[in-house]
């Protein structure tokens, strides 16, 4: 019984000590807690500030972890030391682990950060300050795989362009939609109706619009040769300017500058459905015999294709927009699917340079096919024999782009 009386005060003392240290991190509990609850700076277990990787500078990434205790602050304030030596708040944080990027900083200048926990509206002791210097990186390490792939593909393409220039016969398979171009223009000539060329609704910074402009050049050569009027309503003013230049060039090329009519290549509006309404009006009034819809299209694709069909025109469409291809397939006579649009310029012109480029792209596709097959086989076999899975992991790593 006397022994029990001796133990009782010890138990009470231990209980009080535990209660006082409840808000402290585990490592401090081992060494004895010096901070009674609320804990203040001991709540922040770690705070780091590092220059944001792979960026154009001006960013610091701040990350923090907090203790799992009962003494959780109501909120926390992330502060930055300004040039006058004062801590200025930059963000209110939830009292959980997290990270934040401080942006729009000056490269080469040192920035310090700390976190101040708030208990019942009162600031407690702030965490230790950490510092970092933002810098820009010239090389994005997450894109090295892409760089290597791009260099390999470029070398292959340049090699085949060179082969084409040297006169090597570069075969290109028949593309149904493109063999019909001449027939379509010829039909328009016979019927005495115009050819309508719609280059999509995007601007000249879109690769499909650029491809469309190259094809427009070839179509314009045909219309100039056959003497058919060519109408090109555009959705962007810059596209109109480029189209005018290209068509003018084509008419000059076949010795028909007199037949070039600048007014037939006009701007309608930037608005998607305003453009669709305007082009629909042109279709029903001008009744073109051949309609080309080549470029980037969105929801207006079916509206245009259906109206074109209703006026009895032969329609050749092409886009790389997966969601719009079904509408063109349903409503047009010929549809260039995806990459066929990009192959069209080489197909129509038969220029060695473009044919060489196309052959190079085919080699790139073959390379990707081989990568896929090797990757899938190694990943599948890797499920039963782990070392093989490393091949798949490697291939996934080099094809990952951040």
């Amino acid at each position: 019984m006397r022994r029990m009386l001796f133990v009782l005060p010890l138990l009470i003392f231990a209980g009080v000590a535990y209660t006082q240290c409840a808000g402290c991190p585990e490592e401090e509990l081992d060494g004895g807690c010096e901070n009674p609850e609320p804990c203040g700076d001991c709540f922040i277990l770690s705070l780091t500030a590092e220059d944001a990787p792979n960026d154009a500078g001006g960013n610091i990434e701040i990350a923090w972890t907090v203790a799992t205790t009962d003494a959780i602050p109501d909120s926390m304030l992330l502060e930055r030391l300004d040039s006058s030596g004062e801590w200025i708040p930059i963000s209110t944080l939830s009292p959980i682990d997290g990270s934040k990027t401080d942006a729009n900083l000056i490269d080469g200048s040192e920035y310090s950060y700390r976190i101040v926990p708030f208990y019942s509206g009162n600031a407690e002791t702030a965490s230790e300050a950490v510092s970092s210097i933002p810098q820009k990186q010239w090389m994005h390490t997450g894109r090295i795989g892409m760089l290597i792939t791009l260099v390999i593909i470029s070398i292959v393409i340049f090699y085949y362009i060179d082969q084409g220039k040297r006169g090597k016969d570069l075969y290109i398979r028949r593309i149904a939609g493109l063999t019909a171009v001449e027939d379509a223009v010829g039909r328009a000539t016979e019927m005495g109706r115009p050819v309508l060329y719609i280059p999509g609704i995007m601007d000249m910074d879109d690769i499909q619009t650029i491809a469309s402009m190259v094809i427009l050049g070839r179509v314009a050569i045909k219309t100039a040769e056959y003497g058919s009027p060519l109408l090109v309503p555009t959705c962007r003013s810059v596209v109109m300017s480029v189209a005018q230049e290209i068509v003018k060039e084509s008419y000059l090329q076949v010795g028909r500058p007199d037949a070039y009519n600048r007014e037939s290549i006009n701007y309608i509006t930037d608005d998607q459905f305003g453009y669709a309404a305007g082009v629909d009006g042109i279709m029903v009034r001008e009744k073109p015999a051949a309609i080309f819809m080549l470029g980037t299209f969105y929801a207006e694709s079916l509206i245009l294709a259906e109206t074109g069909r209703s006026v009895g025109a032969i329609q050749i469409a092409g886009t790389a927009m997966p969601s719009q291809i079904p509408f063109f397939i349903a409503a047009c006579d010929y549809t260039l699917i995806g990459e066929e649009l990009f192959a069209a310029s080489a197909y129509l012109s038969k220029e060695p340079k473009l044919l060489g480029s196309l052959r190079g792209q085919d080699m790139a596709k073959l390379f990707f096919m081989i990568v896929i097959v090797i990757g899938v086989l190694s990943a599948t076999l890797g499920q039963v024999w782990e070392p093989v899975a490393k091949i798949a992991d490697f291939l996934k790593t080099i094809t990952t782009v951040e």
Binding site: M146, L150, E245, D280, S323, P326, I372
Partner: protein, 214 residues
């Protein structure tokens, strides 16, 4: 008469004018079309001035905090070259601006296209055929891998589609057509919902203004 009332009537009459195109081209459609095209063209002119020209060029040329940044005269000059297209003797200057736009567009698209249309697709296709464990997962994974590889074969232009290549290309285009069919059905559903929305507007907002309640 409130502005809401005017808005409902304008919306209804213009909707009906545009729908009249389903019958044939007529003066009502022409009016709605010209109004739409004219207003949207005017809207985009102002939009581009306020949201592109002023914030991206003018505010950089003459910053609010004072000073003058002559470097911004370069894009200004290139823009002026574009406007010079209306002067026949100087119109060729616009080619400099156009070539810059096309070249920049193509260059920027190069990496984006390679990333999204090539590497991301290859990365997503490298899967273990047994991933998922059950029989359906096996079938699904085999369809994905076969579809991608055969689809690529279809877009191979340097080889005639005969023999093994032709067979693979046929599988590729078949899978593509199945995907297009699904996409077609999905999008038609979305268009029908737009039609329902506009019909509801006419029936439940416009007709009640004439005392007709359905």
């Amino acid at each position: 008469m409130s502005w809401t009332f005017v808005g409902i009537w304008l919306g209804a009459l213009l909707s009906l004018s545009l729908y009249s195109f389903l019958y044939k081209d007529n003066p009502f459609y022409k009016f709605a079309e010209h109004l739409f095209v004219g207003m949207s063209a005017g809207y985009w002119v102002i939009y581009n001035i306020k949201n592109v020209l002023i914030p991206n060029w003018w505010n950089n040329l003459v910053p609010a905090e004072g000073g003058f940044q002559p470097i911004w005269l370069i894009p200004g000059t290139l823009a002026l070259f574009m406007l010079l297209r209306i002067v026949p003797k100087l119109s060729s200057l616009s080619r400099m601006s156009l070539s810059l736009i096309v070249g920049t567009g193509a260059g920027l698209s190069l990496t984006a296209m390679l990333q999204t249309n090539a590497l991301a697709q290859v990365n997503g296709t490298i899967i273990a055929l047994g991933q998922g464990g059950d029989l359906l997962s096996w079938i699904s994974n085999i369809i994905i891998v076969t579809g991608v590889v055969c689809g690529l074969v279809y877009f191979f232009f340097s080889k005639a589609h005969t023999g093994v290549v032709g067979g693979a290309a046929n599988i590729g285009i078949t899978i593509l057509m199945v995907a297009f069919g699904a996409s077609f059905g999905y999008t038609v559903m979305a268009r029908i919902s737009l039609l329902i929305g506009q019909t509801q507007f006419l029936l439940f907002e416009w007709l009640p203004t004439m005392g007709i309640h359905l």
